[in-house]
């Protein structure tokens, strides 16, 4: 008795080998640059490792410690606060894109202006914020000059307002990019659909609600998921430049905590455990959001 695995059975089967063979370099890259590092992070999350000496296996201790780590809870809470920006980042750019798409007066100027922040590097945006929101910065000067001295505040010197400033930056910086995504989506839609709706007597809001929003479902999904991932996993530069995690620990987020645990506090094993948990949280959010939007169905819209 022999096992027929289907190889070497003529030219047709050899044809089937070409696909995997061509994909091999890409697979190798994924394994080397994603698979191996992620595997290494998972392994190190079960170790005590200071980066200088060999890692020591400690089982689930890092995960147990995470449960009692108030700084981790604070960081996670801040990520959730940053995620508050997601609905705003989904809805407001959609409205703006619609207005531009509808060619409101001055739409060209709006299109260029709103896209500008997307061109700036995050570091530049952070430095601008530091200057604007400093105690003697533009915001307080403006309040002072207009007699609104009661509104002057040390914006980056207290936790709640520092978080607010970062939220504002996040929304502002991503606004233009989201508008462009929506505009791209709108331009690919059949123009006869909104036209037909208008002929049927639909107003601007009705056209947006019943024609554009259903047609843009995939784009909305993209904006929602990418902005959620940003709120959890791409905040490091903002925090690094604007507040450096301060005042105290008030603006720490999970990513900044990972960075500090790994490199400042030499706890690479613990940082790996936080990284694994953060990845799982982002995965859960992503899957949940896509399921919400698609009602569990997959495939193209």
């Amino acid at each position: 008795m022999s096992l027929d695995i289907g190889f070497n059975r003529g030219p047709h089967n050899r044809e089937r080998l070409w696909g995997p063979l061509y994909a091999l370099p890409a697979i190798a890259l994924v394994v080397v640059f994603i698979g191996y590092p992620f595997g290494s992070i998972i392994y190190h999350s079960f170790t005590h490792w200071n980066g200088l000496e060999p890692a020591r296996w400690i089982g689930v201790k890092n995960y147990r410690d995470l449960l009692h780590d108030s700084l981790f809870r604070l960081a996670l809470r801040n990520n959730l606060l940053f995620a508050i920006s997601v609905p705003v980042q989904v809805v407001v750019p959609l409205l703006m894109a619609y207005l531009i798409h509808e060619r409101i007066p001055g739409w060209r100027l709006f299109r260029a202006t709103y896209f500008l922040p997307a061109v700036y590097s995050t570091v530049v945006i952070g430095l601008l914020a530091q200057v604007i929101f400093a105690s003697h910065g533009a915001v307080n000067i403006a309040f002072g000059k207009t007699g609104l001295t009661g509104l002057e505040h040390d914006w980056l010197g207290s936790g709640p307002t520092a978080i607010g400033v970062i939220l504002l930056l996040l929304i502002w910086a991503n606004f233009g990019y989201n508008v462009v995504l929506y505009l791209a989506g709108m331009s690919t839609m059949d123009p006869q659909l909104p036209e037909a709706a208008r002929v049927d007597g639909a107003g601007r809001l009705a056209v947006l609600r019943h024609v554009y929003i259903p047609g843009l479902r995939r784009v909305i999904e993209l904006v929602l998921v990418t902005n959620t991932i940003t709120a959890f996993a791409y905040m490091l530069t903002y925090i690094f430049v604007v507040t450096n995690g301060g005042p105290g620990f008030d603006t720490y987020d999970t990513e900044f905590l990972i960075y500090n645990e790994a490199f400042s506090y030499q706890a690479l094993g613990y940082a790996s455990a936080i990284g694994v948990v953060l990845t799982l949280i982002i995965l859960l959010f992503g899957v949940f959001q896509i399921r919400m939007l698609t009602g569990g169905k997959t495939g193209s819209a």
Binding site: W18, A134, S135, D154, N244, G248, D250, F263, Y265, Q266
Partner: protein, 437 residues
Amino acid sequence: MRSQRKRWIVLLAVVAASLSLAGTATTASGRGQGQTLQVWLGGILTTSTSGTPFRKWVDTQDKLFEKQNPGVNVQITLLPADNGQLAAKVEAAFTAHSVPDVMMLYAGAYTTAYQPGLMQLNKYIDATPGFYKSFVPMTWNFACTNFDCKNGKGYIMGVPFDLGGFVMFYNKALFKKAGLTHPASTFSDLYKQCAVIKGKGILPMIYGDRDGYATSNMLTSDLVSYFRPGDLQRLLAQKLHFNSPAFISSLNAIRGLKTHGCINSDASSFGQLNSDNKFAAGAAAMVEGQPQNLPQFVGALGSKVGVWPMPVSGHGPWAHKQAGNAIDNWVIPNGAKNPTLAWKYIQLATSKRMQLLEVPELGSPPSNLAAANSVKDPYVRYFARLTAQAQIPELDQAVPNQVALVLYRYLNQAFSGALSPSSAMSHVDQTMAQANH
């Protein structure tokens, strides 16, 4: 059949192209032109940016070294001035096994934290007759395991570069305007002075505590007035806690600077380097600082600069003594490509010649004994005298590195009022317990 042959040709071409590219890369990286000595500057030299007196010292050292070692090119990298970011850069380098040949690190726990990654220097020191004894004796301990060099027999991982402690810089002209001669020696008297200075429309003290460094410096200086012999050792062994009367009383005294209107209203979010700049611009009567601030202040204010010991609030046996220690070390990481050259670089940097140049450019008392004995600058002689009275080292250099980095943040919170001193110090105790665990 023909199409299959074509596919094979394409595949082989891709593989050949990849190999040749890889080969080119290897050849390019392997082609050396002389030797390069990679030097990373941490510690006080993080701020040796172009045009500063610090940079002048670095450039002089590098030029002299290149002249003494033809064909060698010194490549300088400045580490971040923020202690957390500095630690991160150094740790990342060790983890990635991508280390320079020689580094300057803050002394004490900022050096010993990396012991497994640093070369033991005893063999170089022992092979250089008289080297160990050519340094001010107290400077060595902050370069050794358990802060004890055992007279040269301990595990030495760094060579001390300078000495330091904290002082109160004051603007003599502004003090004169307020009818005062010098800063007060106790907090209670300082509060009274603040009212007088403020009455003349002058900001008494500029305070930059965004990163917690200012409060850390004030605390270290004041703790000497509370501590008794052996207290630091008890603190490190967790037999004395951060949340103890000495720390809480001292923190309350420091917070008094705020309640008595001594400092700028945005002190908690104002950067320490910015506060130095403000003082240099004549915007305040006082600022806390270290010897290395001297070149900037004298450069900007000339003879108006005065130096005075930090105020204290306790009445312990060392009430008017100081906190001080070696501030920076030169180290050679394990895996350095040119350790012998690195050692030569360190020898030059700590030679009498370069250390005497350090005095006007860096403002710090030198660690080299012969240089220390030849110092003429009155300010630096004063710093050296103060440091010689040091009874405890600077706290943030004595506690484990990760505790220091957390301590700064909790001190900032305690100072700003976001946390009570007791609550903030309890958190530090927890970190200390984790670090010792």
